[in-house]
Point group: D2
Chain length 127, copies 4
């Protein structure tokens, strides 16, 4: 994933784990990911891209090889500013049908009990 | 904006126009922004980060200097795959109160009548 | 629509207009629709149900008779409290594919330029 | 709640439990709540109003008496058709700040492990 998707390489997204209906992806902290140098905080777009990718990986874990998956919509709620630390995202599939899958995603940093963001993604699946 | 926000520099976001309750931002196409080299299509995270930034700029256009603005939540609907072309986003403020602002954002490429994505962002404002 | 869908009858939803990719539905004000008697304001659930129905009607206007449509997700942004007045909702289809349709919906009362809510609905279509 | 909010009375919403950062509300099934008599299925607007109410009750559990709370936005994902049965919704507060609270809501019927819908609500709090 890291090598084949150019923008995931820019972000430094690493697929850490994928199993049926679940995926975890990580992004090691780098200075370029900052969105607000004064606060300071990560750019929300980094968290959102990571959430979207986690959800997509979780969907891929449930569909046949050769099937495709694209995001229909994504909603992200930012719960606290992203610190200048590594970022983790976990996605769980809530529903997968013949055509649409829904993933619930949590983004956290050092404290897993205090997520920095939660997201919900809806994906189109073509089998 | 391009120089002060590291991740906006990574994305290549340029603020094109900002006036009361409105902002337009652009991203020139670069190969690193690709999310699916086979289709091919831009990474959804690029469109989402651009939408979030456009909304934030529109909010800033309506608040006093020294006020801050952070994204509470963002929802993006991907209407068609992003082509390997420049990207534009326009945000309009639907409501701004003492504490919360709501922006409607359209992301398009060469054909403005056929947006690639629409988004709605809610921002916290501290005056 | 008013007669065949029990909950639309409870709400008093009237289909006012439907044409290719567009629908308008209305709800005459009644005391039972109030959600906050002190403010006073309409119940958000009334606006949301109306938005969902408007979006669904707009989708139906673009699919063949006998096709079905169900809501995948709906997001509503409440822009101002709903007054104790008649309510109107208009939906426009942003995209309709073989399987999924996306509608943008505006809910307003006496002043159309100052909507009480905007919503985005994603619908599954079975042709 | 049932007696003071007219539309909650129409829906038949009962507050079942509320404690710090949590609320559960129920709606007993009635024929008027049906949205699709052919499928048959509950009206999505019923689930959405219930989710919004559950989130609002959970927010109220965390704010001082006399404070007010209003919904800024709500997103609901419909995971399966609502059966002609009683409906339950549980809300958990993910974050509450001086001005904004975020609630995660699950709506289920007889099988709690298979929710009919999940929602995320953002609320404005005035203390």
């Amino acid at each position: 994933m890291e090598e084949h998707i150019p923008f995931n390489k820019v972000l430094g997204i690493k697929l850490r784990e994928a199993k049926r209906g679940f995926a975890r992806v990580d992004v090691p902290f780098r200075d370029e990911l900052v969105g607000d140098p004064l606060k300071p905080a990560l750019h929300g777009g980094v968290l959102s891209a990571l959430a979207d990718t986690a959800g997509g990986c979780a969907v891929f874990s449930m569909i046949e090889p050769g099937s495709t998956c694209s995001t229909i919509d994504l909603r992200i709620d930012y719960l606290r500013p992203g610190r200048l630390e590594d970022i983790h995202a976990e996605a769980t599939i809530l529903r997968v049908g013949a055509r649409v899958a829904v993933a619930s995603i949590t983004v956290w940093q050092s404290d897993r009990e205090a997520p920095v963001a939660v997201a919900m993604g809806v994906y189109s699946v073509k089998r």
